[in-house]
Amino acid sequence: MTTIALVEDDPDERLFITRAIDQLPLEVSVDYFTDGEEAIEGLLGAEKGTYALILLDLKIPKIDGIGVLNSLGNGKSSRYTPVIVCSGSKSSQDVQRAWEAGCSGYFAKPDSPTGYREMIQTIVGYWLSPLLVSPEA
């Protein structure tokens, strides 16, 4: 079973993302964290390989996404786990900062269910497909 960590404070966003993930023809479970502190604690504390992927929002309470990225860079367990930023901001500044903090990918939050499906498919197809075993396969 593959598990994805989702760092997102907005329950609606979580719903859109998990919905898109559920629509994948794969068995993927989602652990979510609702603020930066919680995320750092959970992600750094997790055993290596717990999460195949981390989806991270930038605008989250307590410690923002950039802060989370910086902290993860220091932790050994999550160092090789891809961190994909999924942010509502399209500002080039934010994108720049996210890259500098070491994210593996940056997606602006889509504004339609289709958009979400496409985004998740892209992410999964790019970063996870080697790891996944499709139920049908």
């Binding site: 907005d10 609606d12 966003e13 859109f16 509502g88 504004d111 339609s112 269910p113």
Partner: protein, 1372 residues
């Protein structure tokens, strides 16, 4: 004033009026005032003092009037080893002369007599006899000695005063004084520094008054004066009558209230309180008060209340309460199964303490989160108090010790104060209870009994403590008042906290023991041991008791431990036999031999087993009465009396048929038929026992004797202890002497330190640098000023002065020379020495005068004389100047005396007239004047009063050898010393005038050349002069000015009026002033002038006009105004920029944050539309579609706002950009529209440009987008091009053949969010052109539009500085 008259009974307190009676009775009683010729003092006042007495003496003498006509003798314990300063100290407090008595000296009235140390005094009439004090081994009793002599010599004229001190000196003496009817006054022990002597004296009962020292002189005076005092005796000193009165009062109290005060309460306390009532009711003595009490219930009640009610308050002694909370309360929590906490508070009075304890406990429980029910039993004898306590209303003042939060928690506001809350009140049970006589409450965890025991006597205290012990559970606590305690010998309690008086019960206490301990019916414990148990006689009541006993108690014997028969009940004679021989009270010897065994056994068992023994049936044959065999049931019943350590056994003999079946089942004795052998054996054993008893007796006697030995040893110890005590007293007296000496030193020391600080301050304040040297020229001390001058520092004391490198012009050798000189001559030396920076010091070296100092030395003083020096120099300079001045004067200076005589030689006179000094001195000078007037004609009274004169005459000139016309002007010298004056040769004046005119011309020329207005006006405002600049400005001629012209001719009336007013002010005040005048000048212009006007003052101090200087400052003012406007504009600009920035930030944040929820709305509506659409009907789907569309539009709008705000906010990043590549990107972005609309695109090759790449892209994207959006329906074209203007600037253009824009809309198209079309027709937010405009403007360029409706639009923009070009449609 507190006055206590204490009689021997120690219980009588009387009013002030009576005191005077008392005082008078001790007064000798002269009827007429003593004549002044008789110098004998009226009273001999003797003051005895010891340790701490100095202060008391000071206080006494400070209040002492100096006309008391008494002699004062001060007897103080003084150390023989020190010089006494007593005399000096007392001098400061009184104006009376102070003499130290000599042997044989006479006591003087109004005089204070001191006794030398080591002496003791006695009197022979008014003659003092001084004897050596007894040798050291004996404590000095000099005060006693003095008082005793005083009493015997002066009797009623003697006044003895005992002041502070330890020990008991004086106590024996006051008794003598009192016996001799003298007056005895004692310092209040509370006031005295050491209360030993005052207390000791008071304890003798011979003291009349207890006062503070300050009050004593007044009383002595009163005692002396009261004329009809005399013959009344002192109040009776007898004991019996008063005591019986008190006893009767106590009986009345007992009868009415059931409380036996006489028995249990401290006698002193009771007597004091009764005395108080006597005083309050204005009764003269106890007997009358006793009558009142016996006849008046109210007074009895009042007395009862007084006796019972103590002082109480909330949280009295907070520290004790803290300890209670810390040490006792936690114990309540030890037992987790505890059901309740029970507290007994006897003597609760008005309840403050009860509630204090309860609140404290509840707070404690609350803090520890424990909920244990609390029950408090609060008892008191006094019913009214209990009522108060249970009503529980207290005033604000009473609650001041309670923390406010506790008040709000446990009290509620009611009229008159605060009432304890119901919750609290319900936990307390109030009951009337006599602590001594009523049964105690039981199973208490804590007994709080504060400040009650102190009123009880020893007996009652012991009893009450026993009760508490019984009342408490094991390990329960007693909380007593601060001055109460449980004696250490009471092993039932252990002390937990000494200062808070908390005790813990550590041993179980038997109620019977404790309760009977002081049973009123039983004799006192001590007496009981001696009591003979055999009843020798009976009184009638005892006989009745006996017969009752016979009726209700079975027949029997009461036997004690020694087998003595103590008592018999019923007819038991048949059991008794009298054996022949010596009479014995041994019971066993009285009974028949056959029964003896049974009785012995029964008695022994009952004693050993301490319980009732049912011995069984015994038979008595050969009964005395009827000779028949009778059977009796024998039982032994131990009867104990613990308090007396007595044990008895009651042997009851009843007939078997009287017994109840239940009793039969009790223990049966074994069969009584003993074999003969056993009987013999028993007899043997008994004999053996008797033998061992004798042995025992011997041992006891031996112990007794050794006990006696111990007793005698003990007595020896006591004796030696007494010896030690006397040694101690001796030590104490030495100590006192030391203390006295110390006090004197202390006081001297204070004076010294004051003196020293005075001196210090004086030295500092003089600002004269002073250095003290010792004989070896070492610095002993120096002042701050000297330190400053000589560069000395704090640590330099002790250094040789010659080692000091001084900044002054004084080297060590010079100084040494001076010092040696002074040393040899003993005379002061002075030197002037130079300091740094031209300062000058006067150094004065003085030797220490030998009379005031022990060690020789020097005083060096430095006085900074620089200012003096400076003024000297100044004076010389002035004198020289004056001389120069005099010499340069063109005239004759002459000084005349009062009568016109020449007093000083005058060089100028001599050279003008050729007269020599001896010729012109006195009145000789007049010889050279033609027709000289007489002096008295010159110095007329008028001239003298005006102090000046002016005179013209002809004076002989030696030069021209002729008389020349001269003018003399003289002024009076100060202090009528004469006259000084100047004589001027008037014939030289014509020349002077010519020079003046020349100067005037030059001045006029100068004023005319300046470009400033200069003018003079007379008092009427008419111009006396106007310089050329002013004339030209005013457009007038010099002739016009000379003809007379004023401001009213030059300026409009109101302006002229204003100028005139200003002028008048200046003339009036005679002070210069500055104005800024705004005036209209010819030519219609308004000019601003900055004008300074100066009044013109003549020799007599009168103003005769004014002068003015005006500068035209119009231009200056104008530029200032513009500058101010500019800076204001700059400020507004900065403000605007600031606001703009804020707005931008807001737009960014707003658009970003608004987008988030919007996106969610879009998402949800899309989910509904795309994935759940089948669940809704078609109409709903349309509506949802609309929501979705609206949300998307809002999203676009926000996007646009964001973009707009970014375009004006983001910093420009200029770079060389490939404009063609960007155009390709733009076309690619719009390729769908281009394709759909079949638009023909003409893309020219564009010029390269240096600009912000993103922004250029943005502009182009928007412009192309607009052209595509508003394209023509037929053959739409899009033309993108660039062209180079003259000067090299590049203009980019986008042109189309679309719908175009009407001219009237041109002004609005660049406004943000301005839309010219409805949303149904053309989508868009109306932001595109605004963004383009902003970007262009930010680059310094501009954007221009040309359009014709229906034909198309051309937009051109430039991203380089410059906005001047023409745009046409279609582009050329």
């Amino acid at each position: 004033m507190r006055i206590v008259v204490q009689t021997l009974s120690g219980c009588s307190l009387v009013t002030l009026r009576e005191i005077s009676v008392v005082l008078a009775s001790t007064y000798t009683g002269m009827n007429e005032h003593p004549t002044k010729e008789n110098q004998a003092p009226e009273l001999i006042v003797c003051l005895g003092a010891s340790a701490g007495g100095l202060e008391a003496l000071e206080a006494f003498f400070k209040q002492l009037p100096d006309d008391l006509d008494c002699a004062f003798v001060v007897v103080q314990h003084l150390s023989p080893d020190f010089k006494s300063l007593m005399g000096e100290i007392l001098t400061r407090c009184t104006s009376l002369p102070i003499v130290t008595l000599k042997d044989g000296g006479t006591l003087q009235r109004n005089c204070v007599h001191l006794i030398p140390p080591t002496k003791e005094i006695r009197f022979e009439g008014l003659t003092a006899r001084l004897g050596e004090r007894p040798s050291k081994g004996v404590p000095p009793m000099i005060i006693d000695h003095c008082f005793q002599s005083l009493a015997s010599e002066f009797g009623q004229k003697a006044v003895a005063i005992v002041l502070s001190g330890t020990g008991s000196d004086g106590s024996r003496g006051v008794a003598s004084i009192a016996e001799a009817d003298g007056l005895v006054i004692v310092q209040d022990p509370l006031d005295a520094k050491f209360d030993g002597m005052p207390r000791s004296a008071i304890n003798t009962g011979a003291v009349h008054l207890i006062l503070t020292p300050g009050e004593m002189p007044g009383i002595v005076n009163r005692f002396r004066h009261d004329p009809d005092s005399g013959r009344q005796p002192l109040p009776p000193l007898g004991l019996s009558e008063n005591l019986s009165d008190i006893q009767r009062i106590q009986r009345a109290l007992k009868n009415n209230f059931g409380v036996d005060f006489g028995r249990y309460y401290k006698e002193g306390t009771i007597n004091r309180r009764i005395d108080r009532r006597v005083k309050i009711t204005h009764k003269t003595d106890l007997a009358t008060y006793r009558h009142l009490v016996e006849s008046n219930k109210d007074e009895l009640e009042a007395l009862y209340k007084d006796l019972l009610i103590g002082v109480t308050s909330f949280f009295r002694d907070p520290e004790a309460f803290e300890q209670l909370e810390k040490l006792v309360f936690p114990r309540f929590l030890d037992d987790t199964n505890r059901e309740s906490i029970r507290i007994w508070i006897p003597g609760c009075a008005s309840g403050e303490e009860v509630y204090s304890i309860l609140i404290l406990l509840l707070e404690f429980l609350r803090d520890n989160e424990a909920s244990i029910p609390v029950k408090i039993f609060a008892t008191d004898l006094h019913r009214d108090s209990l009522d108060l306590a249970s009503t529980a209303i207290y005033t604000n003042e009473a609650l001041h010790a309670v923390r406010p939060e506790l008040i709000s928690l446990y009290f509620r506001k009611v009229p008159g104060g605060f009432q304890v809350s119901h919750k609290l009140r319900e936990m307390v049970v109030f009951a009337r209870h006599n602590l001594i006589e009523d049964a105690p409450f039981t199973r208490m965890d804590l007994v709080v009994c504060r400040n009650l025991l102190i009123y009880f006597n020893q007996e009652a205290q012991t009893r009450v403590l026993g009760l508490f012990g019984y009342s408490l559970v094991q390990n329960g606590h007693v909380f007593l008042g601060t001055s109460e305690s449980i004696p250490e010998k009471n092993k039932n309690f252990a002390q937990i906290d000494g200062s808070a008086r908390i005790f813990r019960k550590v041993r179980e206490i038997d109620f019977v023991t404790s309760f009977r301990a002081v049973d009123p019916g039983s004799p006192k414990p001590g007496a009981a041991v001696q009591h003979n148990p055999i009843i020798r006689s009976k009184n009638p009541s005892e006989r009745i008791l006996d017969s009752l006993l016979g009726c209700f108690v079975p027949s029997g014997f009461l036997v004690n431990r020694e087998n003595q028969l103590v008592y018999t009940v019923g007819n038991v004679s048949r059991f008794l036999r009298l054996s022949p021989g010596r009479m014995t009270d041994d019971f066993l010897q009285m009974v028949p031999e056959k029964l003896r065994l049974h009785f012995t056994g029964a008695i022994r068992r009952s004693f050993s087993e301490q319980k009732a023994i049912d011995y069984g049936i015994i038979t008595l044959d050969e009964s005395v009465e009827n000779g028949k065999t009778e059977r009796f049931h024998l039982r032994a019943l131990p009867v104990e009396d613990y308090s007396h350590n007595l044990q008895h056994t009651f042997l009851s003999l009843t007939r078997p048929q009287e017994e109840t079946p239940a009793q039969e089942s009790q223990t049966r004795a074994p069969s009584l038929e003993l074999p003969e052998l056993a009987a013999r054996r028993i007899e043997e054993l008994e004999n053996e026992l008797a033998l061992s008893r004798e042995g025992h007796q011997t041992v006891v006697e031996e112990l007794e004797s050794s006990n006696e030995e111990l007793q005698s040893t003990n007595e020896e110890l006591i004796a030696s202890n007494e010896e030690l005590q006397s040694t101690n007293e001796e030590l104490q007296s030495v100590n006192e002497e030391l203390y006295t000496v110390n006090a004197e030193f202390d006081s001297k020391n204070r004076e010294l330190s004051i003196l020293s600080s005075d001196l210090e301050n004086f030295l500092q304040s003089t600002q004269i640098g002073t250095i003290f040297l010792d004989s070896s020229y070492n610095i002993r001390r120096f002042t701050e000023a000297a330190g400053h001058a000589m560069h000395l520092r704090d640590g330099d004391e002790g250094r040789p002065i010659l080692h000091v490198t001084s900044p002054l012009g004084l080297n060590a050798n010079d100084l040494l020379t001076i010092l040696k000189l002074v040393e040899d001559s003993g005379q002061p030396e002075e030197r002037e020495i130079e300091g740094p920076n031209g300062a000058c010091f006067l150094l004065r070296v003085l030797p220490f005068s030998e009379s005031t100092s022990e060690s020789p030395g020097f005083v060096l003083t430095f006085v900074d004389v620089s200012p003096v020096k400076e003024s000297e120099r100044e004076r010389e300079r002035l004198a020289a100047n004056l001389q120069n001045l005099i010499e340069s004067v063109d005239g004759i200076l002459l000084t005349l005396g009062k009568d016109g005589e020449v007093t000083k030689p005058s060089q100028s006179w001599q050279s003008y007239t050729g007269q020599l000094w001896h010729d012109y001195k006195k009145h000789g000078w007049l010889d050279k004047i033609e027709n000289a007037p007489r002096p008295e004609d010159i110095f007329t009274p008028d001239v003298i009063s005006r102090r000046r004169f002016q005179h013209q005459f002809s004076l002989w000139s030696d030069e021209t050898k002729s008389f020349r016309h001269c003018l003399a002007r003289f002024s009076a010298l100060p202090a009528d010393e004469g006259w000084a004056g100047l004589i001027v040769d008037l014939e030289n004046e014509t020349e002077t005038r010519r020079i003046l005119e020349q100067k005037q011309a030059v001045l006029d020329e100068v004023t005319d050349q300046t470009s400033t207005c200069i003018f003079l006006k007379d008092l009427d405002g008419t111009y006396m002069s106007l310089n050329r600049f002013a004339r030209e400005l005013m457009n007038i001629t010099k002739e016009q000015v000379d003809a007379g012209i004023s401001d009213f001719d030059l300026f409009p009336e109101n302006e002229a009026q204003k100028i005139r007013e200003d002028d008048l002010k200046i003339i009036e005040s005679k002070e210069r002033a500055h104005f800024e005048e705004t005036v209209g000048v010819p030519g219609g212009k308004v000019r601003i002038f900055s004008t300074t006007k100066i009044p013109l003052i003549d020799q007599n101090g009168n103003a005769y006009g004014l002068a003015g200087v005006s500068t035209d400052v119009t231009g200056h003012r104008e530029s200032e105004r513009i500058k101010a406007q500019k800076s204001e504009l700059e400020r507004v600009n900065a403000e605007l920029e600031d606001k703009n920035e804020q707005l931008d930030t807001f737009a960014t944040v707003a658009s970003h944050d608004l987008k988030q929820p919007l996106r969610i709305i879009t998402n949800y509506s899309d989910i509904l539309l795309e994935e759940e659409a089948s669940k809704f009907d078609s109409q709903t789907v349309i509506y949802m579609q609309r929501i979705s569309d609206a949300a998307r539009r809002l999203n676009n709008l926000l996007e646009s706002i964001f973009e707009y705000s970014r375009s004006s906010r983001e910093s420009l990043k200029r770079s060389e950009i490939d404009t063609n590549a960007i155009l390709d990107e733009v076309l690619e972005a719009h390729h769908t529209s281009i394709k759909e609309g079949k638009v023909q695109v003409i893309a020219e090759s564009l010029h390269p440009l240096t600009a912000d790449r993103n922004m250029f892209y943005q502009i182009l994207l928007n412009l192309v987008g607009n052209s595509l959006k508003f394209r023509s329906t037929t053959h739409p074209t899009l033309h993108v091009y660039s062209r180079q203007l003259e000067g090299g600037r590049i203009v980019f253009g986008v042109s189309d053949n679309g719908i175009g824009i009407a001219d009237k809309h041109f002004p609005r198209v660049f406004e943000p969010f301005e839309r010219l079309h409805s949303r149904e027709d053309y989508e868009g937010s109306g932001i595109g052109l605004s963004v383009a405009k902003t970007v262009a403007v930010r680059h310094g360029g501009d954007i221009k539009i040309a359009s014709r409706q229906g034909e198309g639009t051309t937009v051109e923009f430039a991203l380089q500085p410059g906005t001047d070009w023409e745009t046409q449609h279609p582009p050329s």
